[in-house]
Symmetry: C3
């Protein structure tokens, strides 16, 4: 498998909460970080997802919102991964930002050039990557 998604996290499922239509699946991605995905019950069953099973969690870079100085706000998005900026590549409209997490993994985000400037994103700056659980795609070996 090769995917365009810049974020490919690997790890075991740490928890599953099932509903009628959807399920919430938490994946341990290293360090103390975990990523929650919302998938349909149909996918949960088709992929035979179970606690302890190793999965990949895929997130496209434009689906990652960045936040700094976030101590004064609480968000409805389920995933907040705090780390430091590793690199910023600036284009005409967009910028791609790489973030190092304490556990060793990295998060990639595409934001507007303007946003990167406003948040003062440059290597070493602390930043939080916010990801909606519904924007995480899970995969298992075929």
């Amino acid at each position: 498998m090769k995917v365009s998604a810049r974020n490919i996290f690997k790890g075991p499922i740490s928890a599953i909460k099932t509903g009628i239509v959807n399920a919430e699946v938490a994946v341990s991605i290293g360090g103390n970080d975990s990523l929650v995905a919302v998938v349909t019950m149909e996918s949960l069953n088709a992929l035979e997802l179970k606690t302890g099973k190793d999965v990949v969690a895929l997130v496209k870079a434009p689906w990652v919102m960045l936040m700094s100085e976030g101590s004064d706000i609480r968000l409805s998005a389920r995933n907040s991964l705090t780390g430091t900026v590793k690199s910023v590549e600036v284009g005409t409209v967009n910028a791609e930002v790489s973030i190092s997490l304490p556990g060793g993994s990295e998060v990639a985000s595409v934001v507007t050039k303007e946003a990167a400037a406003e948040l003062g994103l440059r290597p070493g700056v602390p930043v939080t990557a916010v990801i909606k659980a519904s924007n995480v795609i899970l995969g298992v070996p075929a």
Copy 2:
């Protein structure tokens, strides 16, 4: 809080419709416009969302679809904000479009350069920003 999301709407919650897993939250964003967000019941409770409470509604610019001459179609997306193009910044692949809403707020969208050309987007042109309710992140003071 500083966020990369180009769309930060502030206003009071005007209505909440609860389900078993998800809730729909309508936020008044000025003028006669409102924005509907779908959040989990868990987030609704954790953020103590109630009618009348002031919240911020965050939407990344690539999550905003633009439409013109839309009078002949009805969409499944819950949010349609009609205004006029304020500015267009064109890159190699993408273009960032700012739209002024009648109520005074602005909406930012990133579309392909090709799309901006096809829709004839330039300052003063009427355009509708379409946003799926599941792509709206709500925030409250910590």
Copy 3:
């Protein structure tokens, strides 16, 4: 209607599965391909969606993930459309990729420049477009 979404599929609804809050709607988009959309029951009723009814299915290009050599993985995302790369336009940060499907339609995706290079995307290369059902917007004539 003119929309910024680069993916506009037209076809009849082939199946509807209803839940309490959401419904899954499958649309035949030509060839043997179909696209599944998740919409709220409210939208299903408001748009009077029924099997056989012609609809448009809209997907923004940044919502399309690309995958190659995908035979070793199964994903939670409901839609996988396999075709061949038709063209790649590369910017500073992003690249826009057009994919021809066997049934004659095309899929557009915006990925990072880096992803396009890693996947070796160039005209003629086989590739799969992965689209989450929750990222498909349905439309009907007004």
